[in-house]
Symmetry: C2
DNA sequence: CTGAAAGCGCTTACAG
DNA sequence: CTGAAAGCGCTTACAG
């Protein structure tokens, strides 16, 4: 049996209220009692019961992070691990704890998150995957739970979010290729219901249309894995032989595309230029080093947590943060046919 | 204000006890009241308060997972992400939740875990990194908290753990190289305080000594990153030019070593054989595909969780699970000088 | 400055 | 079968 405040009170010859006040550092307690109680606290190795406190304070002191992809590809992707790191640092600094909810499907995610929130097990939630039509986000909005999305929530929801401008980012990546002289530029992307995929596609299409070019049919992947990137690139390069440059919405996909190009006997960048997204840790050490759009993923995690904490504390109702994106030109892009 | 059991009781015209019994599915309640209460429950959208329940049941319903490396390299490593996935699946299936505790140092880890446990915020903890002299594990053992280590706990602690036989695994990797005819075999490893590094070293040394060979000076890394693997391999290959084969205790390190070999103009496997550990998802798609010792990481996560749940439930006191390891020969190993 | 009382939202013997 | 009471471990007005 763990020692309770009552045990301490009895031993110190005071009331539980007094012990509680000493623990809380209430200035009102006389020095003598404070010291005596403090000594007993220490001697008995008292540790406050977080659950009892939560019940009174009506806050769990825990925030949730929901990851709804099959964890196999979520965790394998540096994007998520960096986001988690940012969230963890910020949440920890605030003295709160982080509960991890993993779900394989949007339905499961919805159930998990709502159960956690409704049962007051968590005070708020960060949702790491935004879908174009997201029931969870809508419900969160309606029921007024503190929540922030990493990504773009469905239109019409009054949600807090943290995002980078994926339209602009997609445009930036594509414009780079256009400016190098490419006329046939392909795109490897994920499901259309994923907001960031849709947005990057729009940026891609805008850049092309501004240059008077036509988009190629998108090569879709199901999972954000190297293998899926490989397969998608192979299909794309076979079906559209004139494609001289490819944008992949994720560095892991780009890595797969790089291998596919090799497998088809195409040199990168001479025969095929390639741009990724995220600037994952490995991007710079690929062979050749990958040109990519750097997203400030760790920072997005921190900002998401910072916002959530403010929502939970009630010091804000709605907060949004747009993070920066930067094109990092390395060695997988050059004019069609080779440098110069 | 969320609706409580009292609100429901009032509306349904029964006592809170009765409502509670209906929720718990107590068979003793009359059909009529059961149905009436159930209707009100639904109508009022009642959701039980997990915190209040935890207080009574004296269990949080949450288990912790502690990750103590700098998250930057922990998460980037497929080992951890697979472990998390296994744990998450098992914990979720049992209807419990998972709290993630990340710490940058062993000291921080100790503080975090003990706070979580002592404050009864979590019912037990899975510690994902075992150190040779681990204060945390010793304290966990002494204070009798349900805990399981992924890896080998310090000698003398009566802890539950899940591990693969790293001595045998290190030996298996090295014997493979010996049997190919290598006489000068290097090792890239992490800090000696990490149990799995120490164990794999022992296996490595045993295999060599059985063949009448001498170990090379170990090339140590600080972080389990590609970069550190690169640097360590470069040092090793420069200092010990006769080394014709290298064992890296981790696939990510092996990837760095592969790049270092290339940078030094050594072909793999003709001029340098390379064996990794873990069979990370990318291992098979490296160029050339990596020979590695496959560890059943997902399974280790599941087993760790399964054991922890039994400790928490009190249906066991001490449980240990040794998982299998398997040598997967791919294309980074061959006899010195090239095939045949 | 300190204590007794009430209460956070539940559950569960104990009566009836 | 159902309710009143006690209690999980704390906090906090309210008295004094």
């Amino acid at each position: 049996m763990p020692v309770t405040i009552k045990d301490v009170a009895r031993r110190a010859g005071v009331s539980p209220s007094t012990v509680s006040r000493v623990i809380a550092g209430s200035g009102v307690i006389s020095r003598a009692t404070r010291e005596r109680v403090a000594a007993v606290l220490k001697e008995m190795r008292y540790h406050p019961n977080a659950v009892a406190r939560s019940l009174i304070r009506r806050e769990a002191g825990i925030v949730g992070l929901s990851i709804s992809r099959p964890a196999s590809d979520a965790f394998a992707n540096a994007f998520f691990t960096e986001v988690i790191r940012g969230i963890g640092d910020e949440v920890g600094a605030a003295g709160l704890d982080l509960l991890l909810s993993m779900s394989a499907t949007p339905q499961e995610e919805q159930e998990h998150c709502l159960r956690l929130l409704r049962s007051r097990r968590i005070d708020g939630v960060i949702v790491s995957t935004a879908r174009v039509a997201d029931d969870l986000l809508k419900t969160l909005d309606q029921e007024g739970f503190p929540a922030v999305v990493v990504g773009r929530p469905p239109a019409g929801t009054r949600m807090s979010w943290v995002n980078n401008d994926n339209v602009a980012a997609g445009r930036m990546a594509t414009e780079h290729l256009v400016s190098l002289g490419h006329r046939h530029i392909g795109l490897i992307s994920g499901a259309e219901e994923l907001s960031f995929c849709r947005d990057r596609y729009r940026g891609y299409a805008m850049a092309l249309s501004a240059a008077g070019l036509e988009p190629e049919p998108v090569a879709h992947v199901v999972h954000f894995t190297r293998q899926d990137g490989f397969d998608a690139a192979r299909r794309l390069l076979r079906d559209r032989p004139r494609v001289s440059a490819v944008v992949a919405v994720d560095d892991t996909l780009a890595t797969g595309a790089l291998q596919a190009a090799r497998a088809l006997g195409r040199r990168v960048p001479e025969d095929l230029s390639l741009v990724g997204f995220n600037d994952d840790p490995f991007a710079a050490s690929l062979d050749p080093p990958l040109t990519t759009v750097r997203i400030q993923v760790y920072d997005m995690g921190r900002q998401a947590a910072r916002i959530l904490l403010r929502l939970v504390a009630g010091t804000a109702k709605l907060l949004r943060y747009r993070s920066a994106a930067e094109l990092v030109v390395r060695a997988t892009t050059c004019p069609p046919g080779g440098p110069r």
